[in-house]
């Protein structure tokens, strides 16, 4: 059973309460993919439209180190309907980049063979058939190397200028493979 303790400044004091695993249906697992070691592409298809939002959680290890990017395509569309922005920190300075009228969304980050690159992508109102779609990204990689491009923390946004519901998401590395220790988990968040 999980335990919680707190330590007061002078005298040790245990305090806490355990909450049992309460069933909830508001945040549900839709599908999970793991890397194969021979591909750098993960595609979630046939995504149901029964949720309010989607969240994609990624823990990725590449088969080679690089300063590269997560790239993303929606519904298999590769025409110039995407744009993106990102705010970055590398331990030394903050910076910002972006792209407009692109054929994909791009989220720049380092990858490494043993230091995971992690990300949370939120797709808001993904099933709407009247709105363009915006993606919020929070991602980073840390390799315990000070002040270099081998570490980054970033906030990103992506725009998909289509009003069709999102039914597939392709996320990929442009040149490397994801190892079998990599996890890509897609969740659905229900509305009331």
């Amino acid at each position: 059973m999980p335990l919680i303790t707190t330590r007061a400044n002078a005298s040790a004091t245990g305090y806490g309460a355990f909450l049992g695993a309460a069933a909830s249906t508001a945040f549900e697992s839709i599908a999970t993919a793991t890397g194969t070691g021979s591909s750098g592409t993960i595609t979630f298809s046939s995504i149901p439209s029964t949720y309010q939002h989607l969240q994609l959680r990624v823990c990725a290890i590449a088969d080679a180190s690089s300063l590269s990017s997560f790239r993303m395509e929606i519904n298999g569309v590769t025409s110039s309907v995407y744009s993106y922005h990102q705010l970055n920190g590398n331990g030394t300075a903050a910076s910002a980049t972006g792209g407009a009228t692109q054929s994909l969304m791009l989220f720049s980050t380092p990858f490494h063979t043993s230091h995971p690159t992690v990300a949370i992508f939120d797709f808001h109102d993904y099933a709407s058939t009247t709105k363009n779609k915006t993606v919020r990204a929070f991602y980073g990689n840390n390799q315990n190397v000070p002040g270099t491009s081998d570490q980054i923390i970033a906030l990103g946004s992506g725009l998909y200028q289509q009003t069709t519901a999102i039914s597939s998401i392709k996320i990929y590395h442009p040149s490397q493979n994801f190892t079998t220790a990599s996890t890509f988990a897609l969740y659905g968040i229900k509305g009331a």
């Binding site: 303790t5 400044n9 309460a22 697992s29 959680r57 823990c59 920190g89 840390n142 923390i153 906030l155």
Partner: protein
């Protein structure tokens, strides 16, 4: 579809404390999420996270921050904890912190994403950070700590959630 976002444990400080520890964390989830609301702490203090009782310099953190005037980035490498904040806090300032820890039960190094919001009505800051724990052991305990002598105030709450993939 199975429910996948579950509370593992929660605590609210009834007396001021310098640490909050979650132990015996089950390895049955894919990710962990910590939600921490610190109602105040000793002035000049900072918050750090350790895993598995490991106090060696196996941690590093890269931060992106804004203080209302300037955006900047800082880091701590080969450090004895993931340092969520790098700013001196006031004793009455409320801090809202979340930490997402990915593949915590796996056999790779562990990476976490953290957020901190701290507004002090004319001062304050917002932080985002990526933390690394260079250990391949599964994480079964998590320690929230202050980096200097002092305490987190009464009413501070911490909840640990498990997120389970299908």
């Amino acid at each position: 579809m199975p429910a996948t976002y579950e509370p593992i444990a929660t605590t609210t400080l009834s007396t001021a404390a310098s640490t909050i520890t979650f132990s015996s964390i089950p390895g049955t989830y894919t990710d962990l999420r910590l939600v921490l609301v610190i109602t105040g702490m000793s002035a000049g203090n900072r918050t750090g996270i350790q895993f598995n009782g490991d106090t060696a310099s196996n941690y590093s953190t890269t931060r992106l921050q804004g203080d209302g005037t300037t955006a900047s980035s800082t880091d701590n490498n080969t450090n004895p904890n993931i340092r969520i904040t790098d700013v001196n806090q006031l004793s009455t300032s409320l801090q809202f912190i979340t930490l997402d820890l990915f593949s915590y039960a796996g056999s790779t190094f562990k990476t976490a994403l953290a957020e901190l919001s701290n507004d002090r009505n004319s001062a304050g800051s917002v932080y985002r950070s990526v933390g690394l724990y260079r250990s391949t052991s599964a994480i079964n305990s998590l320690n929230i700590m202050l980096l200097s002598a002092g305490t987190m105030s009464t009413g501070t709450t911490a909840t640990l959630y498990g997120i389970k993939a299908a």
